[in-house]
């Protein structure tokens, strides 16, 4: 039973680490794309190239996206810190009963302290998904309006560009789904640990 639980705990830590890493990449992408978009629009505004009002709106959207990306990244870093602590404890511990229990206690403690950050991260991820989907839609419209040459390379570049943006949007929507599964599992464990503590309390009350 000890080996079985040790493997389960290890798998869960590895999965959570991977998920958090993907989250970090997405946050960095939102920040990067937002900044790039804002700068492009601001430069276009300065050069007087296009409708001023529209460019300013897009510049604000880009700045907001960059700010959301930064907030998201900070949340992910906080969660990653907890995940790395747990992973370190798991790797250091022997496969004995106390070692495994120690890792489980660490995971519970980390989840309790990071729960609100995880919830915030999930909300921001959804916003990131909306922003990327919106950006993908704008790019598609802009491409359809401006594509006139019939050149295959230009067509392929446009399609690839739009596809990449929509794929990133999809990942941003999938991240909350997987974190939702994780949170549900750990909320159940927290509830179960409260029942376990009732049993421990009863034992302590009967002992002297």
């Amino acid at each position: 039973m000890t080996d079985d639980i040790y493997e389960k705990v290890g798998n869960e830590i590895r999965t959570l680490f991977g998920l958090t890493l993907v989250n970090m990449v997405m946050a960095a992408l939102v920040m990067g794309f937002g900044t790039s978009f804002a700068v492009t629009q601001i430069l276009a505004t300065v050069e007087g190239d296009g409708t001023l009002f529209a460019m300013l709106i897009f510049a604000v959207v880009g700045i907001v996206a960059a700010a959301i990306g930064i907030r998201w990244l900070l949340s992910v870093v906080s969660v990653m810190e907890g995940v790395l602590d747990v992973r370190e404890k798991y790797q250091e511990n022997k496969k004995d009963s106390e070692g495994i229990t120690g890792v489980i206690v660490q995971m519970l403690a980390t989840y309790r302290s990071k729960k609100s950050t995880l919830e915030r991260m999930v909300k921001i991820s959804k916003i990131g998904g909306v922003l990327f989907a919106f950006s993908g839609f704008l790019q598609l419209m802009a491409f359809l309006v401006t594509y006139t040459t019939g050149d295959t390379m230009t067509l392929l570049t446009g399609i690839v560009g739009v596809t990449v943006v929509f794929c990133i949007a999809l990942v941003c929507f999938l991240i909350p789904k997987y974190y939702g599964q994780f949170s549900k599992r750990w909320d159940a464990r927290i509830a179960k640990s409260c029942r376990a503590e009732t049993e421990l309390k009863e034992k302590m009350e009967t002992d002297l």
Partner: protein, 90 residues
């Protein structure tokens, strides 16, 4: 240990650490708590006879009753992972 631990988890940590004789300072350092909280927890565990103080150096040591608590705690907490399936991306 970072994060939010319950008092029962802290009791468990202290009792596991004190299976060998330990000083007060080493306990509060290992279990990551302040001196005042450490004194409260140790006083409680001494009252329950889960810990005893030995020798002139006042070294804390887990008793047989304390080891029973550890055993019960291990079993209950490992049960938290004894459900199928564990968290897996699907």
């Amino acid at each position: 240990m970072k994060g939010r631990r319950t008092q029962y988890e802290i009791y468990w940590e202290i009792l596991v650490f004190c299976r060998e004789q330990r000083t007060f300072t080493s306990i509060i350092n290992r279990c990551d708590m302040n001196s005042k909280k450490g004194q409260e927890y140790l006083k409680f565990l001494l009252g329950k006879k889960y810990l005893v103080v030995e020798g002139e150096r006042k070294l804390y040591m887990t008793t047989a009753a304390g080891r029973e608590y550890i055993s019960l705690f291990n079993g209950l907490y490992q049960e938290l992972f004894n459900e199928r399936p564990g968290f897996k991306l699907s």
